[in-house]
């Protein structure tokens, strides 16, 4: 994750200001949406179209950058059971990053079931490797405690070093039911890069995941809604609890993406505590102005 120091901040600011003065057209040209919903396609196609609609991969990944993709690989389940992010969707994202000239594209998750089982049975390890990613297992000694200045209850927590060191972070959750937060989407998926005993976060869960997400912000969030798990999440296992929605919700605004994706689970975002708290605390808006949202129906 890029840490911006003051000098860079001023430089960037001045450049942007100069650019804005010199090229008024540039601002008008930036009418790219910040949230897109693409439906009715296969997983890889959904992801490709979503990124295209957001302005293309070049908006997020520049040549030579290090990219980290964080799918949900948490469970020893196969793709049809919709407990982990769709492997084809992950592979597509990897492919695009590689094509954009990324130096490395790394895929990892700190799993809940035994890691090798999850990586293999989710299909993600194989698909992502084939697409050109480094698929890494978590090494427990590679967590680094970070400060969370805006945290209310969580003031610091160990985070995986690869996340801190990557220039581009792409959060790729799958939309699932979850008994505590009602839904598990991008905010909850980010817990997968945390070390230590994550179970301790489940008390006052909403406040705590907002704390964590106040310190870690993805460049891009892509919610896999190809298959969604409507009940008995986040593990699932029963195919009757899975609905095929063939949808991807993607965007640069993590709060808005989660709010929109909650709809896939037939949950009103107003009923999701952490979204309300995140908005109150200024992490982003749940609803973006319509001009920044684009909906695409394929095929």
């Amino acid at each position: 994750m890029q840490r911006i120091n003051r000098r860079d901040f001023i430089k960037t600011g001045l450049t942007a200001a100069a650019g804005a003065l010199l090229l008024p057209g540039a601002i008008a040209a930036d009418s790219r949406p910040d949230l897109v919903v693409v439906s009715n396609g296969e997983p890889a196609e959904l992801v490709r179209q979503a990124v295209e609609a957001l302005g293309g991969i070049g908006r997020f990944v520049r040549p030579g950058q290090t990219v980290l993709i964080k799918p949900n690989i948490g469970w020893d389940r196969v793709p049809e059971q919709a407990a982990n992010t769709n492997p084809d969707a992950v592979a597509q994202m990897v492919r695009m990053c590689v094509e954009a000239g990324a130096k490395t594209v790394r895929v990892l998750d700190r799993t809940c079931n035994q890691a090798r089982r999850c990586y293999q049975r989710s299909g993600i390890e194989e698909a992502a490797k084939k697409a050109g990613a480094q698929v890494r297992h978590i090494i427990e000694s590679r967590f680094q405690e970070i400060d969370i200045p805006a945290g209310e209850l969580v003031k610091s927590w160990p985070v995986y070093r690869d996340v801190l060191e990557s220039e581009v972070i792409i959060n790729m959750p799958i939309a699932k039911h979850h008994s505590i937060s009602g839904v598990t989407l991008g905010f909850k998926n980010f817990l997968g890069v945390l070390g230590s005993d994550r179970g301790a976060l489940h008390r006052d869960f909403a406040t705590k995941i907002v704390d964590i997400n106040s310190a870690l912000r993805p460049t891009l969030t892509i919610v896999d809604g190809y298959r969604v798990l409507l009940r008995n999440g986040p593990t699932g296992g029963n195919l009757q609890d899975v609905a095929v929605k063939k949808t991807v919700v993607a965007g640069t605004e993590p709060v808005a993406v989660d709010a929109r994706a909650a709809g896939l689970l037939e949950v009103d975002w107003r009923d999701v505590d952490y979204l309300r708290i995140a908005e109150q605390r200024g992490l982003g808006k749940c609803l973006l102005e319509p001009a920044r949202v684009k909906t695409i129906q394929l095929g």
Binding site: Q114, R136, R142, S179, D197, G199, P234, N238, D241
Partner: protein
């Protein structure tokens, strides 16, 4: 010539043994069934057949093959195959001082191995199975699982971890680490109860080499004793020509002390066909040939020793079986899925810890028992959910078990086999104790319909706040006792939910 062939064979079999050990893991794609060596031990086959009063299944064909080999070639298993024998040879050679022997080693402990064999058989007959303590294959597999591999992993991962701290090499170290984890290293450091005891016993065996070479094989190994009996009329015999100068080198160099004082006779029961005497004989008077030449075949077990061993065994059985059992423990010891009823389970289990090893590569709930199930259950595998959980999609322990103490079950059957039941400790469980939401147990419960559910209730806390809280409960009929709930319970120390063996399905 024979020496080099033998060494090659020893190295190959030790290598195969280690390879199969490494392959006892998820994903399970072994070259041979990982319990191959255990099934090749006639002592394991005979002992478990006696104690469980069941004819061993056809799975023991490797043991029959070894017996056949022994009848024809003598104790080639001990000299050419046994991985513990090879380990002892290496340790004798590397660590123990080479002595110029002036006179022949004493024979006084030689009878012990037969006495141990008698005691093993006598106790097995009365349904107390102690062969696990002595069988070299079970012993070595147990030592690898319980001590050698965890220690090895610790050392190697410490090196990797140190390398990861150095910035300029961290990237390549990480890549190397990751590829090492594909085959050689596990993802988590394995750690087992009892590993110190297992290690001490193993080192004691190696250290006995300072008394004489292959002390264990000469004097204590009951498998060697059993094979010795079958080797009595071996066809491949040691013959000594008239070139013999009676220099005594062969006798002093014989690692089994099997050569008699006239140097022409050797004891078929003791000889492990290693060929060392053939190699060291200057006049080349010694050769191994098929035939019916003269040989000694003396089983060094007096009638008195035989009786002593039998009586000792019986007294041992009576002592162990008449000890009080902890009633809590009988209900509380969680066995692997597919375990036979407790008595049969203990009759068959040879404590090789192959299941523990394979479990450590997935859920990691299995541990060797300490005193939880009494003297009779020492080192028998049980589940300790606070250490690991039984992976819902895994049935590997049954596949690795050489004796059928744990049944092989297809996955769907295993997923419905109850090994225990979870209970909430409401004085510790967070929602019950402090009226705050938690539900980590429900989140992890792998049953597709969730064996932990919750009830949402409005409560008033002690300090007067009104809250909506989700109170979890176990659905007893659905819970299979996998223990991931107990494993992941965030309560520090004693968990808020725990599994007992209640309602476990232990059909044979």
């Amino acid at each position: 010539m024979m020496r080099w062939l033998r060494r090659l064979s020893q190295v190959l079999f030790l290598g195969l043994f280690l390879l199969l050990f490494l392959q006892a893991r998820y994903p399970y794609e072994p070259l041979l069934p990982v319990d191959f060596f255990l099934r090749a031990s006639p002592l394991v086959a005979l002992g478990t057949a006696l104690s469980s009063r069941a004819l061993p299944s056809l799975m023991i064909w490797p043991a029959l093959l070894i017996l056949l080999l022994t009848v024809i070639f003598g104790r080639v298993f001990c000299g050419w195959i046994c991985p513990l024998g090879t380990t002892i040879d290496i340790s004798d050679r590397l660590f123990l001082r080479a002595r110029r022997q002036k006179k022949r080693d004493s024979l006084r402990f030689r009878s012990w191995k037969f006495a141990i064999l008698v005691a093993v058989a006598a106790t097995a007959f009365f349904s107390l199975q102690i062969l696990w303590f002595f069988d070299p294959i079970a012993l070595l597999t147990r030592t690898l699982t319980g001590f050698v591999y965890p220690a090895f992993v610790y050392l190697v991962s410490s090196l990797f971890d140190a390398g990861l701290e150095i910035d300029w090499m961290a990237e390549s170290i990480y890549t190397l680490y990751d590829s090492a984890q594909q085959n050689l290293l596990p993802l988590q450091q394995p750690a087992f109860y009892g590993s110190m005891a297992i290690a001490l016993f193993f080192f004691a065996i190696l250290f006995l080499g300072s008394v004489s070479r292959r002390f264990w094989c000469r004097n204590l190994c009951p498998l060697g004793a059993l094979l010795g009996i079958f080797a009595k009329y071996r066809f491949l015999r040691r013959t000594v020509s008239s070139e013999c100068t009676a220099c005594a080198v062969c006798q002093r160099r014989c690692r089994m002390n099997a050569i008699e004082d006239d140097f022409t006779l050797n004891n078929a029961v003791e000889c492990i066909q290693c060929g060392e005497c053939e190699t060291v004989c200057k006049p080349q008077a010694i050769s191994y040939r098929f035939g019916r030449g003269p040989q000694l075949n003396q089983i060094d077990l007096s009638r008195r020793r035989f009786l002593q061993a039998g009586v000792f065994g019986l007294v041992g059985v009576a002592a162990v079986k008449s000890t009080a059992q902890n009633r809590n423990a009988i209900g509380g010891v969680i066995r692997p899925p597919g375990s036979l009823p407790e008595a049969e389970y203990l009759d068959r289990c040879v404590r090789c810890l192959e299941c523990v090893r394979i479990c450590a590569s997935t859920g990691g709930c299995l541990q060797p028992a300490g005193w939880q199930s009494g003297w009779e259950g020492l080192l028998s595998p049980l589940s300790i959910p606070r250490m690991g959980y039984c992976e819902y999609n895994c049935n590997l322990c049954g596949q690795a078990c050489p004796t059928g103490a744990i049944k092989k079950m297809p996955l769907p059957e295993k997923q419905h086999t109850k090994i225990g039941t979870a209970y909430f400790d409401r004085s510790r469980c967070i929602p019950w104790y402090s009226h705050e939401n938690c539900l980590v147990c429900e989140e992890h419960c792998p049953l597709p319909e969730k064996a932990i559910r919750f009830d949402e209730k409005t409560v008033t806390t002690a300090d007067g706040q009104v809250r909506l809280v989700k109170f979890p409960a176990v659905i007893e009929e659905l819970c299979i006792g996998c223990g991931i709930c107990e494993n992941r319970c965030p309560v520090v120390g004693k968990p808020g939910i725990f599994v007992t063996a209640a309602h476990a399905d232990r059909r044979s």
